[in-house]
Every structure is written in C-alpha cells, then in structure tokens.
Symmetry: C2
Subunit: 254 residues, 2 copies
C-alpha cells in the first residue's frame, strides 16, 4: 500500500533546523511518502547556485514511517540534484520547498534558494511548488498556512503542472487569510541595497540590505497586491526564460 502513495521530495534554503521546514513536513505527511534533503545550514539568497569547486556530502538524520530526512552540505539546487541521483528510488511525484522564512514574491524569485530547489525539480520534469511566508522571524507562526499548503499540494498532485512551469506560493503574515489569488510577478526593484561601514584599515565593507521599490502598485494582478491585501499569492512561474515576444523584432536587427 505505502508504495502507492505519492513520493514527495522536500527541501528548503533556511536549512534543516528551520521551523518552516518542520511545518511543511507536518502538512505533507498525511498525503505522501516524504523524503527530505535540506542544507545543513542557512542558504538564503543562493538562487540556483551549485557547488562546483568542491565535493558535497549528505547524511541520514531521521528515518521514520513515511518520512526520511537527510542533511546536505550543498545549496538547495545541489540538494534536489543530489537527492534525485542518490536517495530517491524513483522520480518523485512532487517537489516542494519551504516553508521559507521570508517573502519570495516579485523579483525575489530570482534570488531565492527555495525557488532554486523548486526550479531544479521543474527542470527535471516534476511538478514543483515553493511556499514562503512574509515573515523572516526564526520563530514565525506557520499555522494559518497549513491548510493552504496541503490543498495546493493536493491539487498539483491531482492535476500536474504544464511542462516547464512551477508554482511560487507566498503567504502574507496574517492569521486571517482571505483566500487564493493567481498572480503575476510585481514589477519593481531593490534600492538602497548596501550598508557601508569602515573597518579599522579604512577598507569599506558593505552588507546587503535595502528596500523594495514597487513600480506596479496599481496592478491588482500582482503578487504584491495580493499579499498586501491578505490573499495567498500563487504565481505560476516558467523556467523557460526565452523572451518570445521580442524574437521577431530582434531578427530584424541583424
């Protein structure tokens, strides 16, 4: 019987000890066999980066009925790649990452290691979902997200996703979620990105910070609008980066 349950691969970028990962596992255990491979430490902001200049390794840390957990010395993308190559007996039915401590909506999707794990699942042809909560706190409360995480995962298991398409799901930090909106990436950019401080030898050091300048505030289709108004934002996300609309014009240039 158990072999016929869906096989769900889980990763994240906040690392194996994060509360959001535990919340995600709790949501998904009732609906499938869970195999986790997550970074052994915090890997936020690692995007789709891969470890190329040194070898990586993984270690079993928990084996229970329907749940096997490994930690890995690599990035989230490495975790997905390595789990597919090693600990997964067959191609999983679903790849899920999160629940991220912090917002991965809008352009943040480019920088997110959580999205890195999910983009890798999608590139490998498996329906894949990233879940993120707009709260960076280590002790953030994920309770309100749980029925949504389970329902969205169920729907993707049932319906699949189109080729080269994954889901980027972001939750506003509220107990009173108003329901789901299907969104597009809000347009905008990070500004004031560096905090500058002098070190003792007069070298200046810069630490990443910043605030997001939304140039799309009136757009009620955007993920930012949904989040600002209490909705769960599901942004269908493509891994085919081709700008098809520009191809014909570009052909006239050369």
């Amino acid at each position: 019987m158990e072999n016929q349950r869906p096989l769900i691969f889980v990763s994240n970028d906040d690392g194996i000890m994060s509360k959001g990962l535990s919340a995600l596992i709790k949501c998904l255990r009732p609906i499938g066999e869970i195999v986790v491979m997550a970074p052994d430490t915090h890997r936020s902001g690692t995007s789709c980066s891969m470890t190329v200049t040194e070898p990586i390794h993984y270690q079993l840390i928990r084996k229970d009925v329907g749940l096997t957990v490994y930690k890995c010395s690599g990035t989230p993308t490495d975790c997905t790649k390595l789990a597919f190559h090693t600990v997964l007996n067959h191609k999983p039915d679903l790849v899920v990452a999160g629940i991220n401590h912090g917002d991965n909506s809008s352009v943040n999707a480019h920088y997110s290691g959580t999205m890195g794990a999910v983009i890798e699942g999608c590139l490998k042809g498996v329906p894949s979902i990233a879940f993120s909560l707009c709260n960076h706190d280590l002790n953030a409360n994920f309770d309100a997200t749980e029925p949504y995480v389970r329902h969205i995962s169920d729907m993707v298991l049932k319906n699949g996703l189109p080729a080269l398409t994954c889901l980027n799901v972001n939750f506003p930090d509220t107990k009173d979620l108003k329901g789901i909106r299907i969104c597009e990436q809000a347009k905008g950019q990070w500004v004031n990105e560096w905090e500058n401080f002098a070190h003792r030898d007069d070298t200046h050091y810069y630490w990443l910070t910043g605030n997001f300048e939304d140039t799309d505030t009136e757009n009620q289709q955007s993920d930012h609008w949904a989040l600002a108004n209490g909705y769960v934002a599901i942004t269908p996300t493509t891994v085919d980066l081709t700008a098809y609309k520009f191809m014909e014009e570009l052909k006239t240039w050369f």
Copy 2:
C-alpha cells in the same frame, strides 16, 4: 567629450583574472567608458546568488583613460549591485558580462553567474548582455567572437532593449562563425550529474559533473541547434518569470 560616451558596466563570473574578461574589455573600449567590477576569484555556477551572511568589499586595481577596474569579494550579482551603489557615477547605458569560459545556453542560463550579473542589470532597468564561448579552457581563444561582441553591443546601445528583457549570447568554439541566429532556450536536462567517491571515513562525497540530454534536437529555433551548426546564438531572455499562459487555467482550480 568623454563624458558623452556611453558608460558601460562590465562583470563576469570567471573572476577578474580571466582571459574572457580581458577580451570583453578590449572589444568594448572603442565604444564607451568602461567600469569593471568583477569577482576576485572564480564564481562559476553562482546564478543570481547574493552574499547575505557576511559583508563584502571591493578594491581599485586599475585606472586608465576610459577604463576603471575593481575587484570585489562578492558574487557577480553582488558586483552589479555594489557597483551601481558605489563606483558608477550615474546609471550605465549598458551592462555586459563575460566573455564566459563555457556554454551558458539552454538551462545553463539558470545556473550561470554571468547571467546573474546581467539579470541584475536588467532588473535595474539597464540594457544588459551576457556573452559566453562554448569552451571552458582557461586559455580559450576569443578572437572570432570580438567583431560580434562589438556589433551586438553597438546595436543594443543604439536600439535599447524592451523592459525586463536582456540578451544571452553564446558563441560556438570555432573560427568560422556563420552569422547570428535569434534563438529560444533548448529544452532538456542535465543527467549523470554526480561523481561519487569514498573518503577515508566511508563518507561518500559527490562532485558535480554530468552531461546534457537535449530533448529538443529537431528544433532549429533552439540555441543548441544554432551552436551545433556554427552560428552565434542570441537568446532574448526575460526576467519576468510569470507563466502567463497558465494563469487562466490555474484560476479554475481554486
């Protein structure tokens, strides 16, 4: 007069000492004022990753007429972000990265640090181009690429690029380039991705390797087809990851 020449920001992921970076600077000096900020070491496969757990710094290493060069301790994405915040007096007219030692076509665009620098330029609203040669050798020969690098850069300076769109340009490793093709990302995936070897304590270590399985070989619009047939592949690339085509169907799910 010189202040009216285009301001061109240059970065890469192979690091400040790479031959491809020198080739790129040589191509671009005749057409603009060049400011380089490139990683102080090899940063291949770092995608759009950012340094979030420690501060970074940069250092001036060369100041010449029309050319200023800095090295930086961060990733390619950090380089673009930090240069915009510090050493660039005004928004540049063009962001260019490369010339990468190795192929960034197809799904490699997701992993490429060269593309990371360029995606960041694009997100900041500047026309941005990545150049890559399909040869990983440290001593690769970039001579054949140079007229194309200059011509493509000239065209982008003249015409601009649509919002949220950058160019990913890949060169086959041949002296006899047959001209330019406007392409889409080849579909496919990396397989056999890990080399496994036992260490003395029986821990297994895995080093990233692999070969690309092209599932799109018949598609003459793909960047792989262009490269395999001796053409320069220009893939217009979007930084808006929204899968617009799937939005309406997804709305019916919930």
